[in-house]
């Protein structure tokens, strides 16, 4: 029971802090103080207390999309184990559900962008669905590697590894998969070099431009959902690159939170030292992710 409560707490409370940490890192690199670490929480509370301005051209899709997105990432979050705990929901084949729940979120987010009739938002939606066609194969190569290395089709066991840890022979494939997954995370959570979450040039954005017309609580829900998405995808990656455990339950969770914060620092550093790629070069990066994961798969099953 305790582990479920901890899981829910981490899943619901931690995510905005990760966004704050990324922004803080970027500010440090820029020689600024930056917004407070807890700024994303303040933003969410502020947005929840506002009214909404809605475009006259929109339909129920526009308002349903944020809610569906939040529901799907919450449900997906229940499938991913946090720290050494088992995920609250685990069954054979849940990895497919995990990937397809994120697909459902994408369906509604992009449909809502088209709902506004804005050319900019249409552009963002087109990019989102296009790039997903390249990240999805990478993700599934990674899932194949994890399934083979752990002999399981349950996310909990796949990420925790078999009893006694992953075999030595799986180390090289897992390293390749970790690199691929990191690129997938950057793309899926709209980070530089794929997307720039801070820019105000609509032509260069993907995710931010799709939600230009959302305001008030709906925007808050979207921001919250994307923070949760970052948290669960980061969790997946951490299980691959840093499966450390202290053996003490009460120490494991703080260690895990520290690892997540460390990952956000890395993402912040990547965002600070890299420029955003030209849009037509983004597919090459994503294909590289697919290649890393694909070669990982080949190495493992050869």
């Amino acid at each position: 029971m305790t582990d479920r409560i901890v899981h829910m707490l981490v899943l619901l409370v931690l995510p905005p802090l990760l966004i704050g940490m990324i922004n803080k890192t970027k500010a440090w690199f820029g020689g600024r103080d930056g917004p407070p670490l807890l700024q994303p929480y303040y933003d969410l509370f502020r947005l929840m207390r506002k009214g909404m301005v809605i475009s006259t051209s929109t339909t129920w899709i526009f308002r349903a999309a944020p809610v569906v997105t939040l529901a799907t990432v919450l449900l997906a979050g229940l499938l991913v184990p946090i720290s050494r705990f088992h995920a609250p929901i685990a069954f054979t084949g849940d990895l497919i559900l995990f990937a397809y729940l994120l697909g459902l979120a994408r369906f509604f987010t992009t449909a809502a962008a088209l709902d506004t009739g804005s050319p900019f938002e249409g552009m963002g939606a087109a990019r989102e669905v296009t790039f997903a066609c390249l990240t999805e194969p990478a993700l599934f190569f990674a899932l194949l590697v994890l399934a083979k290395a752990s002999g399981s089709l349950t996310l909990t066991q796949m990420l925790h590894g078999p009893v006694g840890g992953f075999a030595a022979a799986t180390a090289a494939p897992l390293v390749l998969v970790a690199i691929g997954l990191f690129i997938v995370i950057l793309a899926e959570t709209c980070r530089i070099p794929v997307d720039d979450p801070n820019t105000h040039l609509e032509l260069t954005m993907i995710h931010e431009v799709m939600v230009l017309d959302h305001s008030g609580p709906l925007l808050g829900v979207i921001l919250y959902a994307s923070a949760i998405k970052l948290c669960i995808l980061g969790t997946v990656l951490l299980h691959v690159v840093a499966p450390f455990t202290t053996g003490q339950v009460w120490l494991d969770v703080p260690l895990f939170v520290l690892e997540l914060l460390g990952l956000t620092v890395v993402i912040g550093v990547v965002e600070s030292v890299m420029a955003r790629l030209q849009m037509r070069h983004v597919p090459y990066l994503l294909i590289a992710a697919m290649l890393f994961c694909g070669f990982g798969f080949l190495l493992l099953v050869r």
Binding site: A71, Y100, A111, V129, L153, P217
Partner: protein, 672 residues
């Protein structure tokens, strides 16, 4: 036995349902209503028969002698037939009801009766195809089905495009039938009879002959099912047929090709591993390429047709996995692959019919099939759009609807080909990890499907109207809405409670292959109850979040304004992203398969005047391979016309000469 007679009676009623209207003489709505009533009665009778046959221990069978020199009138309903008969008894009847509003005989006085006649004949012949257990009877039913579909799909034959599509279909379907003729001849030669029943003679077929029969079946049935590159007839025929005919062709008739492959592989001895490998690879290519073509289309019904090709690819992947499992003695692959394929047969018939019905409503409202001319229909047709969203989410295989349940089984099966690992989930038998790459192809089709259907949804229903074509649009009448609503309910029902189908699927898998391992059940391999639990959980969570947002004190709409225009003062609806612009990047990524024809605007001078961009994705196989081949044939083959005298006596002379040559060959010791 009663159940079999009921199904046979249903076939008769369906096949003749259009006759009363023809007898009535003048075109009247009474005739159409009578036809619809007969379709519903026939389907009800058939469904009743299916339910009765479910409880029986041995499949009801019937064999009657007939006057033809070969074969006999042999029919049986086993669990494979039941699964394929389900859509046959559901979709055409709903289509007939839909036709009451969509193709009123008062609006189509010259072709309404013809459509009714061949529509019924199409449905009736498909019933016979699925229960026929004799090669000759099967071929007769097959040919009636093919021709009835031709006459039903080409009712608007005054349109040149319809004639062309019909012609391509006719050529393709007969190319397929030719392969089937060869296949049944070989079958007869190998087993000594035309009976399509498992027998000792069938199991003793040597591997080479069995492989040839398999390849011929794959080609012959592949033409009908639309496996790439045999799909050339499909986009044109589906786009140009009346929408309820498209729904029946796509939702049900394509599955007859799948049925043929399932039936023949069930009869043949266990084949080499390459049987499954070929089918799996063909399925994966068909899946990805089908959607890539779909994304490049402007015509909304052509897009749906290409998406049907993709779904056939997914079904073929399931069959390929099952065939591999049968060759390599992996019962779990057989159960999951066959279960996924057959469940997807049902699912596709539900959501694709829904989407084609929807397309018909859109065409009625907008008077065009070009989605770049439409837009903003959501406000005028809110209920149609709601049902479209259900169909689109289902066809993208997203939870909690039925497409997901089917593909999920297939994924679990494909992951189990990885071979044993440290944990228990992958099974103990030796694996074939290269097959697991198909899961990656399937994931790609998933992402492409989202792109494709968001494009369709956005271009047609969302945003603002791009042309005044649809300004008087409204939701269609109840006769068109009700069938769509029923199909949508079916999508949700199977999506939330897929385990209802699993006993039937397991039964069919065990009829298809003798499985040594009785412990391999769908429930033990892939816990479908979790899909139910999480599907319902997702629905509850969404409702809860909507309510939570409602109780937020100030979460109200405070202002309604235009869409944010980034400071541009005069936005117009023509600046919206169209379907073409939405898919352009993907079309470019897949340009190496699609070979799109593009016309770029030439910009001249500092203040360029109006410019024009045009991009079309034609069917690569048809336009670049088949048609050039026919042109070459058309140039050189006329030399053979010398033989074609136009005199019957000469033709009979040819027959005499050939028979004499064969006689001499036989005498000399050649094979008879």
């Amino acid at each position: 036995m009663l159940s079999l007679w009921m199904v046979l009676a249903a076939a008769g009623v369906l096949a003749l349902s259009g006759l009363p209207a023809c007898l009535l003489g003048s075109p009247s709505s009474t005739g159409q209503r009578a036809a619809t009533l007969l379709m519903v009665i026939g389907s009800g009778l058939g469904l009743g028969g299916l339910v009765l046959s479910l409880g029986q221990a041995a499949p009801p069978a019937l064999g009657l002698a007939w006057l033809l020199p070969w074969g006999q009138f042999a029919v049986t309903i086993d669990s494979i037939s039941i699964l394929f008969l389900g859509p046959v008894f559901v979709v055409p009847a709903l289509g007939a009801i839909y036709g009451l509003g969509y193709w009123r005989s008062s609006e189509h006085p010259d072709n309404g009766r013809r459509l009714g006649l061949f529509y019924g004949l199409l449905a009736g012949s498909m019933v016979l195809v699925t229960i026929a257990r004799d090669g000759v009877l099967f071929l007769i039913a097959w040919e009636v089905m093919a021709l009835a579909a031709y006459f039903a799909a080409t009712v608007e034959e005054d349109n040149a495009e319809v004639r062309r599509a019909g012609w391509v279909y006719l050529v393709a379907t007969h190319a397929g039938t030719m392969c089937l003729l060869a296949m049944f001849a070989l079958w007869r030669h190998a087993t000594g009879s035309f009976a399509l029943e498992p027998s000792a003679a069938a199991l003793a077929i040597p591997a080479g002959v069995a492989g040839t029969i398999f390849v011929l079946a794959l080609l012959g049935f592949g033409f009908k099912a639309g496996l790439m590159p045999l799909h050339v007839w499909l986009p044109g025929a589906h786009a140009n047929a009346p929408s309820h005919v498209s729904a029946v062709m796509s939702g049900v008739m394509l599955k007859m090709g799948i049925y043929g492959i399932v039936r023949m592989t069930a009869l043949l001895p266990v084949g080499a591993w390459w049987w499954g490998g070929v089918l799996l690879a063909a399925g994966a290519i068909t899946g990805v390429a089908g959607l890539a073509f779909a994304i490049g289309q402007h015509d909304l019904k052509r897009l749906l047709a290409y998406s049907s090709i993709e779904n056939i690819g997914i079904i073929a992947m399931g069959l390929g996995l099952a065939l591999l499992g049968r060759s390599l003695d992996r019962a779990d692959w057989v159960v999951l692959g066959m279960g996924a394929a057959l469940l997807h047969v049902w699912n596709h018939s539900l959501f694709k019919s829904l989407l084609f019905f929807n397309a018909g409503a859109i065409i009625h409202a907008g008077h065009t099939r070009d989605m770049d001319q439409l837009g903003g229909l959501a406000r005028q047709m809110p209920r149609t759009m709601m049902l479209f969203v259900v169909g689109a989410v289902a066809i993208c295989a997203l939870p909690p609807l039925n497409g997901f349940a089917g593909e999920w089984l297939l994924y679990v099966g494909l992951f189990r080909t990885l071979g044993p690992g440290p944990g228990p989930d992958l099974g103990a038998g030796a694996g074939l990890p290269v097959v697991a790459v198909a899961a990656v192809a399937l994931a790609m089709t998933g992402a492409l499907a989202v792109a494709c259907f968001v494009k369709l949804l956005g271009a047609v229903f969302l945003g603002s109207p791009r042309s005044p074509l649809a300004q008087h649009a409204h939701d269609p009448p109840a006769s068109m809405m009700a069938p769509m609503a029923l199909l949508a309910a079916g999508c949700a029902g199977i999506g939330l409670f897929p385990m209802v189908a699993s006993p039937l699927l397991e039964d069919a898998a065990r009829t298809w292959a003798a499985l040594p391992d009785s412990s391999a059940t769908i429930a033990s391999l892939a816990p479908l109850r979790w899909i139910t639990a999480l599907g319902l959980g997702l629905v509850v969570l969404i409702i809860a979040l909507v309510l939570a947002l409602k109780v937020l004190p100030r979460a109200k709409v405070v202002a309604r304004t235009g869409t944010w225009d980034c400071g541009y003062a005069q936005p117009t609806t023509r600046m919206q992203y169209t379907g073409s612009s939405f898919g352009q990047t993907l079309v470019e990524l897949f340009a190496f398969v699609l070979w799109p024809k593009r016309h770029w605007p030439a910009i001249r001078g500092l203040f360029s005047s109006s410019a024009h961009y045009k991009g079309v994705v034609p069917d690569t196989v048809l336009d670049r391979l088949v048609l050039p081949l026919f042109h070459v044939a058309g140039r050189y083959l006329p030399n053979l016309r010398v033989l074609q005298q136009g005199q019957t006596q000469m033709y009979v002379l040819y027959v005499l000469v050939i028979v004499i040559v064969l006689l001499i060959w036989g005498q000399m010791g050649g094979q008879p």
